[in-house]
Amino acid sequence: MSIEFLLASAIAVLTAAGIYLVLRAQTFSVVLGLAMLSYAINAFLFAMGRLKVDLPPIYETGAEYTDPLPQALVLTAIVIAFGMTALVVVLALRTYLETGSEHVDGTPEVEDTHPDRGGGA
């Protein structure tokens, strides 16, 4: 099996799992889904510099090299995704503690029929 096929299928599986989890109603699943999606994107960005094995990330005239820029992009994306995951975990926990609901919409288990709450939102 080629490395291209392995990487492509890994990205596909991660993205599929990520999308499925993000669409779930519990914040915990959504956080996991976001993490999966960001892993998929990191691998995807990495692949955008083309897959090359055993080549230096240094440009020399005439010589083969691997593109270093996607690696820098992935590094930035990892840092941002890590920070965001931490934030969303804290936020989800805080919301759970304040509202007693783990639902993304924050809807409590009973139907809220009070006319003044929520407005048109």
């Binding site: 999606l37 994306a77 969303v88 936020l91 989800a92 048109g120």
Partner: protein, 503 residues
């Protein structure tokens, strides 16, 4: 190189870092620093605006790295206008936050506010696609903090949704950037424009996918239907000053659509030319309708203002979607108006909510409250602005959009949608105003509000009035800015210079 171009990014970064220090939090120092920095930023923005209005496109190469290898900041008429609008709006929002003591309700209001400005200014100035992503992240991260500032269960719930939606948006943004980099091998927008124009036929399909995915992300930021669902809840549950500042966040999406489409996917781009044009107009008209139907249906003033933002951004995007020079000139005149009209309505809703005590901003008859006359006048003026009635600038803006749209084959749809929704907005706003200000009983709400809190709202009204009085110069400027957008060669030459094509 003109170093002033980097100042709108550096100054908030430094002030935000100072604002996190313990001494800034424990004393009034943070507040003074933030206000002083805000005044300085307005000054810088005015200077940049005056510089850019001579029509030269100025480029700032970060760290003196030559484009397209380094990151460039580009100052043209459009970005100067956006930076000026940001700083004026932010000054009013900050003044409101300070006057209502919002900044004392949590620790990091001022640093977050400055980081928000850093992200906004950066997004408007950058000429690099990945850098645009980074500045989007900066402004989003700051907006998460600001949105939650002051806390409360409703705000937290709205915050979770807002954060999740935007995180997914950022992921999709990276997909688009990745595809475009994979095909063109560059992230510099000017260089990308050159390479896409010269791209072989086999790459067109991928470029097309990248372009459309990118536009979908910008549409999410601009709250274009059906990607608008995050906005009403997030904006209506946050504090007034923050919501007023957020009125510009949807415009970041509009700006990005304008910038990237005219520059990278413009007339020279072959098969991807005007990539979003095919779907944007119907969606813009639908979000215009959804926004103003929401105004009609809202049961709280803040919700009403949030739907007003969706509706007026829809109007703006309807003009943008024509991708015609005159229509975009009209849109660029309407853009500052739409931002300011949304912001003033959020400020008024906040003031009314504070004055009415327990009833807050709900559209229910209640007791009379302090400063009812002044607040009702402010509400009337902001309602006129949002609906786009004469004599304020919204009327001129809508008139310009209608007249430039009349040449388009979709003219009946645009005319119909804009005129009907203006009528809907009038009904919704008139109903809200009469319930809040007229159906009151004699007993007054007890605690009188603080003084000076209406100042920022009047300041925004003054800006709207200026936009109306100086409509002539403003439309000239908008036309010149649109002219620059439709001559992307000037931008590309300014960024790449003689290196164009030989890299």
């Amino acid at each position: 190189m003109m170093h002033l171009i980097v100042a709108p990014i550096l100054l908030p970064a430094i002030i935000a870092a100072l604002g996190v220090l313990r001494i800034s939090r424990a004393t009034q120092l943070g507040r003074y620093l933030s206000v002083a920095a805000m005044v300085a930023q307005v000054g810088i923005a005015v200077a940049l605006f005056l510089t850019a209005s001579d029509g030269t496109i100025r480029v700032y190469e970060m760290g003196d790295w030559r484009a397209p290898f380094g990151i460039v900041l580009v100052l043209d008429r459009l970005s100067a206008m956006m930076v000026l609008l940001t700083s004026l709006l932010a000054a009013a929002a900050l003044a409101h936050g300070v006057a209502t003591s919002l900044d004392r309700r949590g620790w990091h209001f001022h640093p977050l506010f400055q980081f928000q400005l850093l992200g906004l200014n950066g997004a408007f100035l950058t000429g690099d696609l990945f850098n645009l992503f980074v500045f989007f992240e900066v402004l989003l991260i700051a907006s998460y903090g600001l949105l939650l500032h002051g806390q409360g269960a409703a705000r937290l719930q709205a915050g979770v949704q807002y954060v999740i939606v935007n995180l997914v948006g950022s992921t999709v943004f990276l997909v688009a950037v990745g595809i475009l980099y994979g095909v063109t091998g560059t992230l510099n927008m000017a260089d990308m424009a050159v390479r896409i124009a010269a791209a072989p036929a086999g790459d067109q399909a991928l470029i097309r996918v990248g372009a459309q995915v990118l536009m979908a992300v910008f549409a999410l930021k601009a709250a274009l239907l059906p990607l608008h669902l995050w906005l009403p809840r997030a904006y209506s549950n946050t504090s007034g000053a923050v919501a007023a500042l957020f009125a510009i966040l949807t415009k970041v999406g509009v700006y990005s659509i304008l910038r990237v489409t005219t520059l990278v996917f413009g007339a020279d781009a072959g098969a991807v030319a005007w990539a979003p044009a095919s779907w944007m107009l119907p969606l813009a008209l639908l979000s215009l309708a959804a926004g103003f139907i929401g105004v009609l249906a809202a049961r709280r003033l803040r919700v009403l203002a949030a739907f007003g933002v969706i509706g007026s951004t829809g109007t703006l995007l309807a003009a943008v979607a024509l991708f015609d020079r005159d229509a975009i000139a009209a849109a660029l005149y309407y853009l500052p108006h739409s931002t300011l009209a949304g912001a003033i309505l959020f400020l008024v809703a906040d003031l009314v909510g504070r004055a009415r005590g327990d009833l807050d901003d709900r559209l229910h008859p209640g007791r009379t409250f302090a400063r009812r006359a002044q607040l009702s006048l402010l509400f009337l003026l902001s309602a006129i602005a949002l609906a786009g009635l004469p004599p304020l600038s919204g009327f001129i803006g809508k008139l310009l959009i209608l007249s430039t749209a009349s040449a388009s084959p979709a003219a009946p749809w645009i005319w119909g949608a804009i005129l009907v929704t203006t009528f809907l907005a009038m009904i919704g706003l008139a109903r809200a105003g009469s319930v809040v200000f007229w159906k009151v009983s004699a007993a007054e709400v007890r605690p009188p509000p603080r003084r000076w809190t209406t100042g920022p709202a009047w300041a925004i009204f003054a800006l709207l009035a200026m936009l109306t009085i100086f409509a002539g110069p403003a439309t000239d400027y908008a036309a010149a800015a649109a002219g620059q957008l439709f001559a992307p060669d000037g931008y590309i030459d300014a960024v790449l210079g003689e290196r164009r094509g030989d890299i």
